[in-house]
């Protein structure tokens, strides 16, 4: 299951990852922190995506992960739109027969998502707004 949503549903992700041959399931949930880049006071975040390309890139990453680990089920869900501190913004999950494969593939997918999937985060502080990573 690969998709962009307004609101992350953890139970949906967990249900999708069920597989009779899977003994281990690794989930990563990224949430909005109240500080960023050494600066505190994040009050809101906006996530914007280039939607068709973001889905296509996530599918490419899923294919790479499946080529490398014996993954039974895989979930990559990213939220778009306005988010508050504590809100989940991304959920990555893999289920495998053995837990090491689940941890490794899940970490690979979130690391790669952050590098290449065309989604942008704008942080709203009390006093300014910043597109994260845009400038050196």
């Amino acid at each position: 299951m690969i998709k962009l949503v307004t609101t992350i549903d953890i139970n949906e992700a967990y249900a999708e990852l069920q597989h009779a041959e899977a003994g281990g399931l690794s989930l990563f949930i990224g949430t909005v922190r109240n500080h960023a880049g050494g600066k505190s006071g994040v009050v809101q975040l906006d996530f914007e995506g280039y939607e068709p390309m973001a889905v296509k890139e996530m599918e490419v990453l899923a294919a790479k992960a499946k080529a490398r680990w014996p993954i039974k089920k895989l979930v990559m869900i990213h939220a778009l739109g306005a988010k508050k501190v504590g809100d989940p913004v991304v959920i990555i999950g893999t289920s495998t027969a053995h837990r090491k494969d689940a941890f490794e593939s899940c970490e690979f997918l979130i690391d790669e998502l952050k590098k290449s999937v065309p989604i942008w985060k704008k942080e709203h502080f009390d006093d300014q707004t910043v597109w994260v990573n845009a400038h050196p």
Partner: protein
């Protein structure tokens, strides 16, 4: 030729699209980037700037057709 804009590139250009004039010839990604940097100098200050063609990351030598879906991809920050 139209270029879709996202994130900070939208703020820099002040629009969510750039229309490359008919009389400007940009045959590949390298030529497009050169033209963009002249038109919108703040783009040069970004940490990186990629071009996507048909929803795929393109390289400098990727050829551009007028019918392609082309987009500017500033540094991503999802997750």
């Amino acid at each position: 030729m139209e270029i879709k804009l996202f994130g900070i590139t939208k703020d820099i250009v002040g629009s969510d699209i750039i229309s490359v004039p008919e009389d400007v010839h940009v045959g590949n990604v390298r030529e497009l980037k050169s033209w963009l940097y002249i038109q919108y100098p703040p783009l040069k200050e970004l940490s990186a700037l990629a071009i996507a063609v048909e929803h795929t990351y393109a390289v400098d030598t990727t050829l551009l057709e007028k019918s392609n879906e082309i987009a500017l991809i500033p540094p991503v920050s999802g997750g």
